[in-house]
Point group: none
Chain length 196, copies 4
């Protein structure tokens, strides 16, 4: 029996040092958190990571790409998709992790990531498909289920409701509007009919 040798192409030469990967990303995240995007300099990252500049450019072809990747990796964007039958609760529990991140230390990083998403079409597609898309589709599914159950009027605008969580949370994050815990409730109150 032959093991498929195409899966890992067995690259010749010395393999990339994983410790460098980590050091670079960590240094980038640190500098980014401390001084913002323009405060990240390649020489700075290299120095802080104890790494040559070439070692960075071997992995990322530009500062923008480096920062995006650092943030993406640093902020593990994987969420659960709940479906309990209680639309309000499901929506709130889906919004919660995003709210937390947009409120925490990673906020800048998150926003930065959203920014680069727009500058790199490929990144956008990948991101939308794998992260945003699923959540949006799941919310649409939840809303339609609620309509079928009779919890929501038949003429509810499922599509627009599905956009509301992302739209409001990002909007608040971007414009530095208050991001307290009550916000989630206010959002569902606004876009869903009050339960009688």
């Amino acid at each position: 029996m032959v093991i498929s040798e195409h899966d890992v192409p067995v690259r010749a030469g010395r393999p990339r040092d994983p410790a460098c990967d980590a050091a670079i990303l960590q240094a980038t995240l640190d500098l980014f958190a401390e001084h913002g995007y323009s405060g990240v300099s390649m020489d700075g990252v290299a120095a802080r990571a104890g790494v040559g500049k070439a070692t960075i450019y071997r992995r990322y072809s530009s500062k923008a790409e480096l920062v995006v990747e650092a943030v993406r990796c640093g902020a593990q964007l994987e969420d659960r998709l709940p479906d309990t039958g209680d639309l309000r609760a499901d929506l709130i529990s889906m919004m919660r992790p995003l709210l937390d991140r947009l409120r925490g230390d990673d906020a800048k990083a998150m926003v930065m990531f959203a920014v680069e998403r727009l500058r790199e079409p490929e990144l956008a597609e990948e991101f939308d498909r794998s992260v945003i898309g699923k959540k949006r589709e799941h919310i649409r599914h939840l809303v339609r289920s609620a309509i079928e159950r009779g919890d929501l009027p038949a003429d509810s605008d499922a599509d627009l409701i599905a956009e509301a969580p992302g739209a409001f949370l990002w909007h608040h994050a971007i414009y530095n509007l208050p991001m307290d815990d009550a916000l989630l409730g206010r959002i569902v109150d606004l876009v869903l009919p009050r339960p009688t």
Copy 2:
């Protein structure tokens, strides 16, 4: 006899050349639309406008300020702030120009501006103060008036309603969701109680 010394301060010496103002802003807008914020360079603007750099810095104290002003002026963001007493109509009429621009040829520039706003903290403050702030405040005023008139329940979330137009429109623009004329109606339908 009264000398109006406040209106136009009657500066001595040669007055600023209005043609320069126009040339500078136009060159800035062109470069911004073509290459984004970082593609705008002061030397580039000066060259394209046929103007010395000092002439630019005499008007704007930094690149961020210049770009903000250029986009603001170029996109005519000084919209009318209607107050007819019909909240639905007022909201729709306030959203219309933004929708049109986000749909039109300037869409790219608008989105890029929003993007760059996030990359450069200096840009963000400028933008928020001069562009966003007034509209948001006006919508809040409209909603509160509607509540006072009894057109809206007393417990309506005026603040959140005021965010809805911007939040949804930008969200749709950024994620390439449909931007048809019906969108405006759907938004107000979602966040305002249906008129009985």
Copy 3:
């Protein structure tokens, strides 16, 4: 009467700062003398001269060009061309300044200059015509005069004798052979018949 305004083209803009010219050349010479060609770095020159790198590159398009020019200017290559009727004395007095320079602190710089001469054909022509050429031609003239006077045999190889001073001195300098005062006498003794 109209002064011809074409002579000095009245360049627009701020004129180059002569203090920078001086500072740059001096810093270059210093570093070159201390650490050799590879010890000259553009950042180092800039720092030592208290000048931005752009200010250097505005004047010299590369490190090589900068160093050549620094050496050329620093080592004022203008010599007298004596003609006393005493060939031995004339030759020695023509060799003396070159010997001194090749022996002194500028030695490295001189050699360096000779090197760059070979790398840049244009520089070579200019140099040969204005500096080397004249001296070589003058020596040929002196030798021919000596032959006419009968101080030298009629079949003397004037051309080769004219090369001897340069050939030997540079050879000694390049190969770190002794450059004492006696050398000049030894050279003329070798290539000129001993006076009886």
Copy 4:
């Protein structure tokens, strides 16, 4: 039983590949002739020779050493050192190969090598020790022998005569002076007393 451990040290393991030696030197010479010393890069040599960089550094400890060796081997600078008892003939026969090379296709490489020798101190030492030194010393030996034989006056300047061939030939090559066959005779005629 005696094991000859001195002649070929009988190294354990795989022996060095002679094909690598050749490929490395050839690639180095090619690059050197085409782009000069600074145009030779270790990565470039490795790529062109189809060889790993370690394979080069196992043979030569630095770029300077590699280039020196390449030029020395390529130009076959290990000339014979004749000693026939006829000083004129010996000198001419020692100059001949250098003249030929300085006239031939390798002229550029030779001159460039001499040039680069001066730019990189490391190069200079290598070159002088291994190439120049031996020949100079041999000529000195020949001249002293001629003096002992009485073919040359006792007060002849052996050291300076020993420099003449190199000094004049390189001087002519560098300054594009005529390099015809007669040159060799003219040089010995100038620095050696005519045979009566």
